[in-house]
């Protein structure tokens, strides 16, 4: 800094501290306002900083450099002391107009406080330093500290000294409110608002839709076409006794309104809350189980169920895509087959296997009965739009039993699993729902009974399937319901093939594929433990069977020693049994609960949609990779191939390889067994001997 400027400073500073502080604070505020403006491009920044510096220099403000400042202060000290003899300093004033700055400094160090400067001037200088605005942010420390201290005094936090850094950070952050459209964070804040508002809008719509059923004077209309809905709020109370909360009470209320709306718009006979399934990165799936008033017609095997007339959202893009890909692949194979067969003599062409259609043992999907007796709707939050899940396909149910996978939260995502399930998450969700329903939905013994009209079928040896509510059912006392024998499955068992009613798989070609049937025996055991006496589908075309509907829970196998399929307990430890709900929870499907109280009972599932792994050490072992399929070799050709092989056998092991190379045909072969090898050796030896003999004979002839 130039010495002239410092020399001029004393009179201005000596008069009062105000003039110096005022312009400084001005610069501070100016810098602050500059920083609040939208950020300028990088190129303009230096000039801005220069401007600030210039403005700071133009102010009649003492510079912050220590050496000239101390020099100046020493002069000012003497000046002021001359002017004001009644100085607060107790010591005698030093020699006036001393020349050496260093000496002055030493004196200042010797007597801190007096320092040869009046306090207000010192303070003014210090304040001026603190008020210098930062080059980077434009903030100045003076204003910042006063804001922090003000904040502490206003809010009185405990142990302010310890959280000072955080408080300071908060004050700094609060200086930059996102009131400008291009401030960082402004867009996110706007989005936050919309999410909460979207939810509120959807929920209020659900409430208002329900209100349409009222007449103008607020009386409920005669309800027409409304399906049967359970008293959800009552059920939630029941579930609460079991410690399960599918939804909070207000959400349940909105959901029940939304369900009623669903029954009228989709013409459903009845509806029940199936439960809630958690997802990894999104809201959970809230699942409603609905019985349609008009069951849909049957579908062709392999076809993806398309939307019904009353329901446009069914069927997912990924499923359609997968089906399309599969069809294209089949067409390609068929085309390649035709090309290959072309020009080949008929009797040879006959032995070339025809491409398979429709995969292994693909059976028809059930429509409106069995697995797909109910349709399932999913929503992501109470009051949200309902999305219909596709019907369960038997093949997918079969594969889903071998797969362990969390739900991602995107219904239209293609699943990547081993073994490949090749479907959308919606289809997988539907399969899991079918499996959960079949193994965990329970009712007290006697509540349902077999349809008497079907008894004829029973006499013929078939299993009864259709059940009706027993009109003479009397609720059993609580003590009785505490037994596993008092509870039955009323949702039919799903056979390993993925259907409830067995259907013979279509025959493919002349031969039956072995792979398609292999896994089923073990899978079946896994699914329901050893509870069924079925033959496990071992024989091809053998009729699969499982436990019939209304089989008591007591007959189910244990998961592990000491772990039954269901745990039954009373919900209350202290209340009398009469007023205590009974709680059954499935150990096989954690999250499946059944609660019964007096004449009511309800089932709900709240969980991940994953079956408990029953391995002793908790490991899920995926099924082994299937053996590589044998390359097809034409029988006649193979025999021909073997002829030259034997001829060149004398070259030993390398011979075989060479033969293949020579022929230019890839022949997949089984590794010869020891006996075969020995036989071959003997044969070879015999031939050698023959050859030698022949040669010897030839020689003899020559001679």
């Amino acid at each position: 800094m130039d010495p002239d400027f410092t020399a001029d400073a004393p009179p201005a500073a000596a008069t009062s501290s105000k003039p110096s502080s005022k312009p400084a604070s001005k610069t501070g505020s100016k810098a602050g306002s500059a920083s609040a403006l939208p950020p300028l491009p990088a190129t303009t920044e230096p000039s801005d900083a220069q401007q600030q510096q210039q403005s700071a220099q133009s102010q009649p403000q003492p510079p912050a450099q220590p050496a000239p400042a101390s020099k100046a202060s020493s002069r000012r000290a003497s000046n002021s002391q001359l002017a004001k003899p009644a100085s607060p300093s107790p010591s005698p004033s030093p020699a006036p107009a001393s020349g050496s700055a260093q000496r002055q400094q030493e004196q200042g160090q010797d007597r801190p406080g007096s320092a040869g400067l009046p306090e207000d001037t010192e303070l003014a200088l210090a304040r001026a330093f603190l008020q210098e605005s930062s080059d980077a942010s434009g903030l100045n420390l003076y204003d910042h500290l006063s804001s922090v201290i003000l904040r502490i005094l206003e809010q009185r936090p405990k142990n302010a000294a310890d959280i000072f850094e955080q408080l300071s950070g908060e004050v700094k952050r609060s200086r930059f409110p996102a009131d400008e459209s291009n401030t960082p964070g402004a867009f996110r804040q706007a989005k936050d608002l919309s999410e909460a508002v979207e939810l509120a809008k959807a929920q209020i719509k659900a409430v208002q839709d329900a209100g349409q059923n009222r007449t103008t004077d607020g009386q409920p209309k005669e309800e027409e076409g409304v399906g049967e809905i359970p008293d959800m709020l009552d059920l939630v109370n029941l579930f609460e006794w079991a410690g399960v909360a599918p939804l909070s009470a207000p959400e349940t209320y909105i959901l029940s309104l939304s369900l009623r709306h669903l029954t009228t718009t989709k013409s459903l006979k009845s509806v029940r809350l199936f439960g809630k399934i958690f997802t990894l990165a999104s809201n959970p799936y809230i699942v409603a189980e609905c019985e349609p008033a008009n069951p849909p017609p049957e579908l062709e095997p392999g076809a993806v169920p398309q939307d019904d007339s009353n329901d446009p959202i069914a069927g997912f893009a990924v499923d359609a895509e997968i089906a399309k890909e599969k069809k294209e692949r089949e067409e390609l194979v068929a085309k390649m087959f035709e090309e290959a067969v072309e020009g080949v003599p008929e009797e040879m062409g006959k032995s070339i296997p025809k491409p398979k259609k429709g995969g292994f043992g693909e059976v028809k999907a059930e429509r409106g009965v069995g697995v797909n007796k109910y349709v399932y709707y999913v929503c992501r939050f109470a009051g949200g739009p309902w999305i219909r899940l596709p019907d369960a396909l038997p093949e997918k149910i079969h594969t889903s039993r071998k797969v362990l996978k969390y739900f991602s939260g995107d219904l239209n995502k293609k699943l990547v699993t081993y073994p490949a399930i090749e479907c959308s998450e919606a289809q997988y969700l539907r399969c899991q729902i079918a499996r959960i329903a079949a193994s965990t939905v329970l009712s007290p013994q006697g509540y349902y009974m077999f349809d008497p009209e079907e008894e004829a079928a029973l006499e013929e040896g078939g299993q009864p399937t259709s059940i009706i509510v027993n009109p003479e059912y009397r609720p059993a006392p609580a003590a009785e319901l505490l037994q596993t024998s008092a509870w039955v499955h009323h949702v039919p068992y799903i056979l390993p093939q993925g259907r409830v009613n067995w259907e013979a798989p279509p025959k493919i070609g002349g031969k039956e594929p072995a792979e398609g049937e292999e896994g089923e025996g073990e899978e079946k055991e896994e699914e329901e433990g050893g509870s069924e006496a079925g033959d496990g589908g071992s024989g091809v075309g053998g009729r699969e069977s499982g436990p019939g509907v209304l089989t008591p829970v007591a007959e189910e196998a244990e998961l592990a020693p000491g772990v039954p399929a269901f745990t039954i307990r009373v919900c209350s430890t202290y209340h009398t049994l009469k007023y205590t709900p009974i709680h059954l929870c499935s150990n096989r499907w954690p999250g499946a609960h059944t609660v019964a109280y007096q004449d009511r009972f309800a089932n709900v599932y709240v969980g991940d949609g994953i079956k408990m792994v029953t391995d002793a050490h908790g490991y899920h072992i995926p099924e082994p990779v299937p053996d590589c399929a044998m390359e097809w070799v034409d029988k006649d050709k193979k025999e021909e191939d073997e002829q030259p092989e034997e001829k060149e056998e004398d070259e030993g092991e390398g011979g075989e390889k060479k033969v293949k190379e020579n022929l230019g045909v890839l022949v997949e072969q089984v590794e010869p067994t020891l006996e075969q090898e020995k036989a071959l050796e003997e044969e070879k030896a015999a031939k050698e001997a023959e050859k030698e003999e022949a040669e010897a004979e030839g020689k003899e002839d020559d001679e």
Binding site: K158, N159, A161, D162, I163, E165, Q166, L167, G169, E170, G185, R188, Q189, D192, E195, A196, V197, E198, L199, A200, E240, W241, G243, V244, A245, P246, S248, A249, K276, F278, T279, L280, A281, S282, P284, L404, K405, Y406, G409, A560, G562, V563, T567, R569, S572, T573, Y574, C585, N587, P590, G591, V606, D608, I610, V613, A616, H617, G618, Y619, H620
Partner: protein
């Protein structure tokens, strides 16, 4: 987790306490706090055994990391859980079966590989009470989390609850970096920090390890609920651990409600 949050804020986790449990707990926890001279007592969780369930409560005074655990089978009488050694905690990690519900049941934990040979290493025998105690340590170590800024380290280097914590901001809410493991004695490796990390770091509140560094990736599932006003974190390795942080009102808490089994297959399941 505090009892007052249980019916309203835990439904996102799918569990609740029934009216009897809430009534009994609010009384019995107060008595526990008084009789054990704790400053704070909270419900830690519920372990679902095959035949019954254990409620677990935790109490502490000044130091957040000197806690004592109690279990109860009827929500009214509380029993102190025994202390366990590090070896016992390690052995507990290997147990894959469910809690039986019989507190005296003995688990034999041997080295899986070594047990096939006759002269194997000595097997650890744990009873269910010890397993429960060790299990709580495991969950605390692997799962217990707090939002960033909820605690600070004071000048005496002790961890204190931050009274000026008003909840995470909306942009911070869906990020794992905003949630910390509640474990003592964490020393960050400053050498590995980027300049941006150092800029963001505040020494007083960045006192725990963030869960974003947990491996394998994806062990935490984080969702936003109720119009993005509440975040819900679930641990997939220990299914049953649930953590919520609601911004309106500003509440947070974690609780374990599960069978006590570790999901070792979750790597396949993502």
């Amino acid at each position: 987790m505090e009892l007052c949050d249980i019916p309203t804020l835990t439904s996102a986790g799918g569990f609740t306490l029934n009216i009897e449990e809430r009534a009994a707990l609010s009384a019995s926890l107060a008595i526990l706090r008084d009789s054990e001279r704790f400053h704070h007592v909270r419900l830690w969780g519920k372990v679902l055994a095959v035949s019954r369930m254990y409620l677990v409560a935790v109490g502490w005074s000044d130091d957040y990391f000197r806690r004592k655990y109690f279990y109860s089978m009827d929500a009214s009488t509380w029993l102190l859980l025994p202390e366990v050694t590090t070896e016992e905690v390690k052995a507990t990690r290997k147990i894959s079966q469910r809690f039986t519900g019989d507190i005296a049941f003995e688990y034999t934990v041997g080295d899986e590989v070594a047990s096939e040979t006759p002269d194997s290493s000595p097997k650890t025998v744990l009873n269910e009470e010890k397993r429960l105690s060790a299990f709580i340590r495991l969950i605390n170590n692997d799962c217990e989390i707090v939002p960033r800024g909820a605690f600070y380290k004071d000048a005496m280097n002790s961890v204190q609850l931050n009274p000026s914590f008003v909840g995470l901001s909306r942009p911070e809410l869906p990020h794992l970096e905003s949630y910390f493991h509640f474990r003592p004695d964490w020393h960050p490796n400053t050498a590995l920090m980027t300049t941006a990390d150092r800029d963001r770091r505040q020494d007083t509140i960045d006192i725990f390890e963030s869960v974003s560094s947990d491996r394998p990736r994806g062990v935490w599932s984080i969702n936003l609920e109720s119009g993005a006003q509440q975040s819900v974190l679930r641990n997939l390795e220990w299914p049953g651990y649930f953590f919520f942080h609601s911004t309106q009102p500003s509440r947070w808490g974690g609780m374990y409600v599960g069978t006590g089994q570790r999901n070792i297959n979750f790597g396949y399941m993502l």
